[in-house]
Symmetry: C2
Subunit: 334 residues, 2 copies
């Protein structure tokens, strides 16, 4: 099937291409009869406007760039779902860029983004933002950062207050007299790890204590599980807070394998809930984080920025829910 252009539609309907253009774009200055003729021609020929040509003429692509770390994390998938659903509503397309640490050069991705002339960029930020993204700012490309709270003239951000979540959780445990709280580093997510640590630090400080139990996973270890299996003392007691489901499950497995009971000896809380937490036994208590909304809200914000609407709130903090399950002792927290 040959690609049919606006010219052919015009000829078929016996009007000028300007009129066809008007019909496509819903301009209401077209006479009903003419519109009908054009629409018939469009259907007859199976005409679909060429978005590229439209992009050139309009100087906008109705496309946004999305930059995420590897797509195989469940919560990233949920973010993408949210983003995608909202993008569909506003008729925006998404150009997806995944960046794999070690493999991808973020500079190249940014370059690609600029070349593709997207109308905006949404980026999930799991570590401190690379300087190359500064370039996007210079180009004045509207940008939404997911996962960390920064903003500027052309940047909005949507994030979750992990610091507060951890803070409140720790505070509640400290109030109960439990001081054995370990934060497990998530090497794949600097930003969240830092926030978690900070939340704990403050909670301890407020309680006149000092937070010292940040469990850094050495670069050499292949997984949290393998590392913990060696390092977790069989006599360990207390609460573990981990960011990802797989880390929480690793702790759970190691604890059980070392003869510790959950939640009696060790308690576990996962910061980013997924269905897998409910599948673990005992089920893992977790914060239900609005991943889908992170994507959805970001995209909604993006449309506003692209329309030049004034955004009153440039840093948007999303709420969360604490879901107590079986890996923690009964007692409402947060």
């Amino acid at each position: 099937m040959k690609r049919v252009t606006i010219y052919e539609v015009a000829k078929e309907a016996d009007v000028s291409l300007a009129t066809v253009s008007r019909v496509i774009n819903g301009s209401n200055v077209v006479k009903e009869a003419t519109r009908k003729r054009v629409e018939d021609a469009i259907n007859k020929l199976g005409y679909r406007p060429n978005a590229i040509a439209q992009g050139l003429a309009l100087q906008r692509s109705t496309t946004i760039g999305l930059i995420v770390p590897e797509a195989s994390f469940v919560y990233i998938g949920q973010i993408i779902n949210g983003l995608s659903d909202v993008a569909k509503i506003y008729d925006y397309n998404i150009i997806l860029h995944t960046v794999t640490e070690g493999i991808t050069n973020i500079r190249e991705v940014v370059d690609e983004v600029i070349k593709s002339r997207v109308d905006g960029v949404i980026i999930y930020c799991d570590r401190k933002l690379d300087d190359s993204t500064k370039l996007l700012e210079e180009y004045n490309i509207p940008m939404v950062v997911m996962g960390t709270d920064i903003s500027s003239d052309s940047i909005c951000s949507v994030f979750i207050d992990y610091e507060r979540a951890v803070h409140d959780l720790c505070a509640s445990y400290l109030k109960k007299g439990i001081k054995d709280i370990t934060i497990v580093e998530d090497r794949r997510n600097d930003v969240i790890s830092e926030e978690m640590k900070e939340g704990a630090r403050k909670a301890f400080e407020e309680a006149g204590e000092k937070f010292e139990s940040y469990l850094a996973i050495p670069k050499g270890s292949r997984s949290t599980y393998k590392y913990l299996r060696k390092s977790l003392k069989k006599s360990h007691k207390g609460l573990f807070i981990a960011n990802r489901d797989s880390q929480a499950m690793a702790i759970l497995n190691v604890a059980k394998e070392n003869g510790l009971s959950i939640p009696e000896d060790v308690e576990i809380v996962c910061m980013t809930d997924t269905k897998y937490n409910s599948m673990a036994r005992p089920e893992i208590s977790a914060f239900i984080m609005p991943s889908y909304d992170l994507g959805a809200v970001s995209m909604r914000l993006m449309t506003k920025m692209m329309n030049g609407e004034e955004v009153e709130e440039k840093e948007k903090c999303l709420g969360f829910l604490y879901q107590e399950r079986k890996s923690t002792k009964k007692e409402a927290v947060v």
Copy 2:
């Protein structure tokens, strides 16, 4: 920063735009000194070619469309990672479309794909291909289908032989005299469910038996877990084969909760391995499916099709590995 065009670069370097174009595209007929001047101008002005204009002029967008069901499945994420990595190598961009059953109208997605004038489409097919995709064929858009073995003039496919996997697995169990084999339906994936059923059917037939234990999950049930909790007899013995990790885990949980032991009473095999299978206790035996490769190979194939290269093998079957773990009795299969 104002968007700088090829004209401004030309002026800055005091050459014609044709020369700039040549430099950008690495044409080697440009004198070294001239090239240098142009490159300096490009750097000075921070010029980035406008991919949209290039697309219009060249009649190709160096972009492919990717259509997947919800992105929050781990294996879909892996596919995307593979696709994305290879796309990067060949300098292709990916426009991502997620289709959510009930929410997304596949017709609209196809329309969007056509409008965006992508050079090719890669689609993950978890149910019988909708007729609207026929349109893509009519438009002669190169297409790679992941997950099912169909091909035509403009369609290639990359898939995994789930039927064989299940067949061999069943055959091996039947040989041991175990006939209590249940295939659990994956309502989110018609195609694989059918293949699995077919594989079992054939294996049973070859053994002079009849396969009858296909466990359909009623539309009403919220999850495999909830359904099984009611329906799994406490006396059940035998092997369960499930497609997704979450289903396998559901079976595992229900079995344990009903006092059955694994693998003594019930054995479990998951068709599509993810890290979560190794985190379950007992660890779940599974087929390690090449999800990443599914994406990578598809993209590679796509580049060939887009280059008009002859593709010798239009239906590409990827191999897999059986990973025995603790949810099955010791004994090599497959």
